[in-house]
Symmetry: C2
């Protein structure tokens, strides 16, 4: 039964929510980067810069949890931003294990610039998808990304 009838029978992303989300993610990444593109910064980097801007000097741990990212993945992802002087790490006063993150001046400037470009992309998304549905979708996705959802997914028994 491996080879179905012939051509485009079925598709994994119509059955698997994980595949569906990843696939949509690739598309959006494309669309948003086209719209913001020429700064050389990626969509993820914009997200990260923005979230760091929104936050108050978060520790790597906290930022990673917030972003629903592995701590080490966050560390890796920050490297190019640190190298390019957009972000900097500094030690916590109380706990010497902890490193906190903040935007540099350059980072703030870039983030501001990116936000303008991002806005265009987001407006296009809302136009194509519907403003209301857009917001609803983001909330839905935030729920899926929440610890409560993870608990419901795993825990229920």
């Amino acid at each position: 039964m491996t080879d179905k009838i012939d051509g485009k029978d079925d598709a994994i992303w119509l059955h698997c929510s994980n595949s569906a989300v990843r696939r949509a993610s690739r598309q959006l990444n494309q669309l948003y980067e086209d719209a913001m593109g020429d700064t050389g910064l990626k969509g993820t980097q914009f997200s990260l810069l923005s979230q760091i801007g929104f936050s108050n000097k978060p520790s790597l741990k906290v930022l990673a949890e917030t972003m629903v990212m592995d701590l080490s993945a966050l560390g890796h992802t920050l490297k190019p931003l640190i190298r390019d002087g957009l972000v900097e790490l500094f030690p916590d006063d109380k706990d010497k294990r902890v490193k906190r993150v903040r935007l540099t001046q350059a980072g703030v400037a870039i983030q501001r610039d990116l936000t303008g470009r991002w806005r265009i992309a987001q407006d296009r998304f809302d136009a194509a998808f519907g403003q209301e549905k857009s917001e609803e979708l983001r909330h839905t996705l935030a729920f899926i990304a929440s610890p409560e959802f993870a608990k419901a997914f795993e825990g229920d028994a």
Copy 2:
């Protein structure tokens, strides 16, 4: 204004659909891989194996488009699967530029095994999220991943 009031003011994923999808994607990847985990294969590899199984010896180009992936990215992603003998490439009869993909016997077996494990994860997702909403979400995401949506996003003018 870089540092807002204090703690958890706002979040980029509540404003940016792209960030929202990526973040949810990270969570789901985690959850699904935990549930399927011990085969050593990733969620993406399951998607790919499944889609190759669903398709009829697609060319790399076609498969890439179907998966909404960059052609070269697909090539890279297939490498470990080819190396491990789950998938194989073979030339097209007519067009010597074209390479087609298919599962090997081992690939078919693994895919079958993975499908069983995946089903558990998907059932948990449906249970936690709601069967109906789950299906609806997949359709929504398929729409977002569609060329029509890309056109609407870019083209409208």
